[in-house]
């Protein structure tokens, strides 16, 4: 059992580090993890669940705003992008945040093609992050079920 726990913990460490190295996450995610404690063991999962709900809602808003026949209201698109940038920054979703910065520039330039490309990329990135984090949470569950503790991962 100890060997299994140790193996899972190593897998978890390596996987978490890779998420930072690949740019999916940044320091703000580390800050969120630090806030999680025994009294609120699902805090990070709850916050991320809210974030992903936000993503779905805001991406839907952006898609509808870009789908207008006639003149697109780029300020309306930009407002949703701004909100998503804020949310992604709050949870440490680095790639999503980076895309939102570019997306906002396209909105300000009234660049339709640029906005459409960014929208597609944001959709891909948030879904990729969702999958990666789900895999990370699954590893945490496996560690706990095997009788171990989820290790603190030092990113630096």
């Amino acid at each position: 059992m100890d060997a299994l726990v140790a193996q899972l913990q190593m897998q978890y460490r390596n996987y978490t580090v890779s998420l930072y190295q690949q740019g999916f996450l940044d320091d703000q995610f580390t800050e969120l993890k630090k806030l999680q404690d025994d009294a609120s063991p699902d805090f990070v999962a709850e916050v991320l669940s809210l974030f992903f709900e936000d993503c779905v809602k805001l991406i839907g808003n952006m898609a509808r705003a870009l789908d207008q026949t006639g003149t697109v209201d780029f300020s309306q698109v930009g407002a949703s992008v701004h909100q998503l940038k804020g949310s992604s920054s709050s949870v440490g979703a680095k790639r999503v945040k980076g895309l939102c910065i570019t997306f906002k520039e396209y909105c300000e330039a009234n660049n339709y093609e640029g906005c459409v490309r960014c929208l597609q990329q944001v959709d891909i990135e948030f879904k990729a992050l969702q999958t990666k984090l789900q895999d990370m949470f699954n590893l945490e569950k496996q560690i706990i079920q095997a009788g171990g503790k989820v290790p603190q991962v030092d990113i630096n």
């Binding site: 800050e31 974030f51 701004h82 920054s89 709050s90």
Partner: protein, 136 residues
């Protein structure tokens, strides 16, 4: 409150009472957790108008108010001005986006803030301000 030197927050005799004003539910949850982690208690308001009503109706007194800038109904600048007109003495800390320019930040400060912090908020950003409050 116990007096403290700069550094980690230790147990305080009176719990720090904080009002968090933000229209983003995600930020509200995170900021509430940060305040809890540093030993405080918090109340939330979803926009500036709610924050004004809380002060008008309850005669509430907060040690610290974390004030988001962009909010519907009443934004952070207007809310801060209003609270100062109502002679609210709490430390009010504005929470701004990195996208805000210098002029916007200055206008927010001039509305009556004590400090301004950029999102995302972390314990490390808030703790020095709490120390200031405790030393005051």
């Amino acid at each position: 409150m116990a007096t403290k030197s700069m550094g980690d927050i230790e147990k305080i005799k009176k719990k720090l009472n904080v009002l968090i004003v933000d229209d983003d539910p995600l930020n509200l949850i995170i900021h509430e957790k940060i305040i809890e982690a540093i030993g405080g208690i918090s109340q939330t308001a979803n926009n500036g108008e709610e924050a004004v009503i809380i002060h008008r109706d309850g005669g509430s007194s907060f040690d610290l108010i974390l004030m988001d800038k962009e909010m519907p109904e009443r934004d952070g600048v207007s809310t801060t001005k209003k609270l100062r007109e109502m002679e609210v003495k709490s430390m009010i800390v504005g929470v701004t986006s990195l996208a805000d320019n210098e002029e916007e930040r200055r206008a927010f400060m001039e509305a009556g803030l004590n400090h301004c912090l950029a999102k995302p908020l972390t314990k490390d950003k808030i703790i020095p301000l709490i120390n200031q409050l405790m030393d005051a």
